[in-house]
């Protein structure tokens, strides 16, 4: 009969062997990458990672902890790439240990969803009206200024409840960037950031919170991402853009907004695309970015990341429309290819 000592020795040897095999297997299997950040593009990213894994076997793990979390994690080096709806400011870039490049992946729109029972027409808003509503200057729906933008429609005499985000978010950043561009008063009084001091209105937590408040409260208007408005079947307003046309937020008008800002983006891909000059652009659009170190320390991971990003710029874009994201126009894909060419992997520039 085996002695207790020999059983123990045998068990220890078996465990050691199993560990060696497991680690050996891990290094022998396909590359795996980790990323963290924005919640807005999470649906398209998870589809991309799934499709890419089926195609190449590369496993990409993404935690949607919010743009702020993504920035912190990529700074700390705990993830291979970060994702953020708001581009990093110069101050934030200086704070990073090494140089970070921004790769815009898809574009989204922030729409103004409203709840007006009895109002069946499509609400039309101008930049001045949106600013005035959120500054608390227009307090009822039957205000003359609103009626002027919506001729022929009868507006109810209900009070307006302007809903904003109570938590810090990239959606707020896109919306306030737009307001700061179209209104000097807003820029001075409130400013643009992921979290601002709102002059009036109530706050809901997350896109879901704002959508919930708008849906529940007659007379409410709130800014949410296009995908949320569509999924919750909330009516949203047409907005007058820089060129003077009232534009419906659609995937085409978002892509047009990105294309309209292409010259600026070619110079600095972080340029805001809000209030884009193109004729059919939807004015409250924004890009979402992946944050990648220009110098990839780990050659295997760096190579896998660059290859994935190339794939995302071409095959990945085909999947965007099905999930209500706007694909990048060709001009921006070219900008991204140029950026990726500058990413050095273990000392050699990426293809």
């Amino acid at each position: 009969m085996p002695t207790r000592t020999s059983i123990m020795r045998g068990t220890r040897a078996a465990i050691a062997l199993a560990l060696a095999l497991a680690t050996g297997a891990a290094t022998a299997s396909a590359q795996s990458l980790t990323g963290a950040g924005a919640t807005f593009p999470y649906p398209i990213y998870s589809k991309w990672f799934d499709s890419y894994r089926q195609k190449t076997g590369v496993e990409i793990n993404y935690q949607s902890i919010g743009s702020g979390g993504g920035i912190q994690q990529v700074k700390a080096g705990t993830v291979d790439f970060g994702a953020s709806d708001a581009a990093l400011s110069d101050v934030q870039l200086k704070d990073m240990p090494r140089r970070i490049v921004h790769i815009p992946t898809v574009a989204g729109a922030v729409v103004l969803a409203y709840n007006l029972p009895g109002f069946d027409a499509k609400l039309k808003l101008t930049p001045e009206l949106v600013t005035a509503i959120y500054l608390g200057k227009i307090t009822t729906w039957n205000d003359k200024r609103l009626a002027a933008a919506n001729p022929g429609a009868s507006m109810p005499a209900a009070p307006i409840l302007a809903v904003h985000r109570s938590d810090g978010s990239g959606t707020t950043n896109i919306f306030t960037t737009y307001l700061a561009r179209v209104s000097g008063e807003w820029k001075q009084l409130v400013g643009a950031a992921t979290s601002v001091s709102w002059p009036s209105g109530v706050g809901g937590k997350g896109n879901e919170g704002v959508a919930g408040l708008v849906r529940q409260t007659p007379g409410a208007i709130g800014y949410i991402e296009l995908a949320y408005a569509k999924q919750n079947q909330l009516p949203y307003a047409q907005l007058r853009n820089h060129a003077g046309n009232f534009v419906e937020p659609t995937l085409a008008s978002i892509t047009a907004a990105v294309a309209g800002a292409a010259p600026l983006l070619a110079k600095d891909v972080r340029s805001p695309i809000a209030d884009s000059p193109a004729a059919d652009a939807y004015p409250i659009s924004g890009l979402t970015f992946l944050l990648v170190y220009q110098e990839q320390k780990d050659p295997a991971k760096g190579k896998a990341l660059v290859e994935f990003l190339h794939w995302a710029m071409h095959d990945g874009q085909e999947m965007a429309a099905a999930l209500d994201y706007a694909r990048l126009p060709e001009a921006i894909v070219a900008v991204n290819e140029k950026t990726l060419a500058g990413v050095s992997v273990g000392g050699k520039a990426g293809k």
Binding site: I65, G66, S67, G68, G69, I71, Q72, Q92, P159, L161, S166, D167, G168, S169, V190, G191, A192, A193, T194, S195, V196, S197, W198, S200, G201, V202, G203, G204, K205, G209, G212, L213, Q216, T217, P218, G219, A220
Partner: protein, 320 residues
Amino acid sequence: MTVAPLALPARRPRAVTADVLYREVLRAAAACVLVVVAVIVYQTARGAGPALHTYGARFLTGTEWDPVAEHFGALPYVFGTLVSSLLALALALPPCVGAAVYLSELAAPRVGEAMAFLIEMLAAVPSIVYGLWGLFVLAPWLRAGIEPWLIAHLGFLPLFQGFPFGIGMLNAVIVLAVMIAPTIISISREVLLATPGALREAALALGATRSEALGVTLRVARPGILGAVILALGRALGETMAVTMVIGNSNAMSWSLLSPSATMSSVIANEFAEATGKLHASALIEIALVLFALTVLVNAVARLLVYWTTGGRRHDAARA
């Protein structure tokens, strides 16, 4: 086979290693709790350091909360926390003590037990469920019926001026009152059941009416009920998720119950995850420190109250 003689202790019992070990392990466990609290206070104070240096006392008197310009003043949140918790307590206390009296004194024993069990189940409901209830059930009620009525009949008071949107301070106060009710009812009921029956019988024997005898019992149970109030107030002060969903998250300070507001815990829950600015994060941690200090202060005041109302005697029921 010889029987060993009984080892009787000579003068003092010799310390048995097992007993010493047992006592020291338990002492260490109790000390752990104190150590954890001390570490929490230290880390919070350290995190709040930059904000404390930058704003000083202005932090508690300032009303502007601007992450862009980095002006932070916590007064609206302190106001919101105090008003929502105290009003919720004022709203909940009379019905809950009444309910406790009913369940302990007047209800048939089995009915009382069954209802007490159901009320304790209410305490187990997660706070986010209360938040959803407040948003999807209470808000429409308030918007459609109660708030318009208040505005129409009591609108001359600054307390009820504004628009009936359904969410705001009033909604939060009601949700908080419902959340702290099970705590108050179950503890008050336990305390009332624990008062010696002899007191009641003696009062009745001396010719007291039933309600006078009840008054005697309540007077004896007062320290315990105050203990229940302390616990309930503690829960109301710290309640985060349910309040965040229904209070409207606006840093406007208004006397109107119909206006949206914010509490200290709701602003931390909302903004901390995305607070990338160092001063912003530090200001939020300072709010946490202020909330902690407030809770300690409220507890201390309540315990003093208990001490005074028992005439300085340490009543067992006070250790609720």
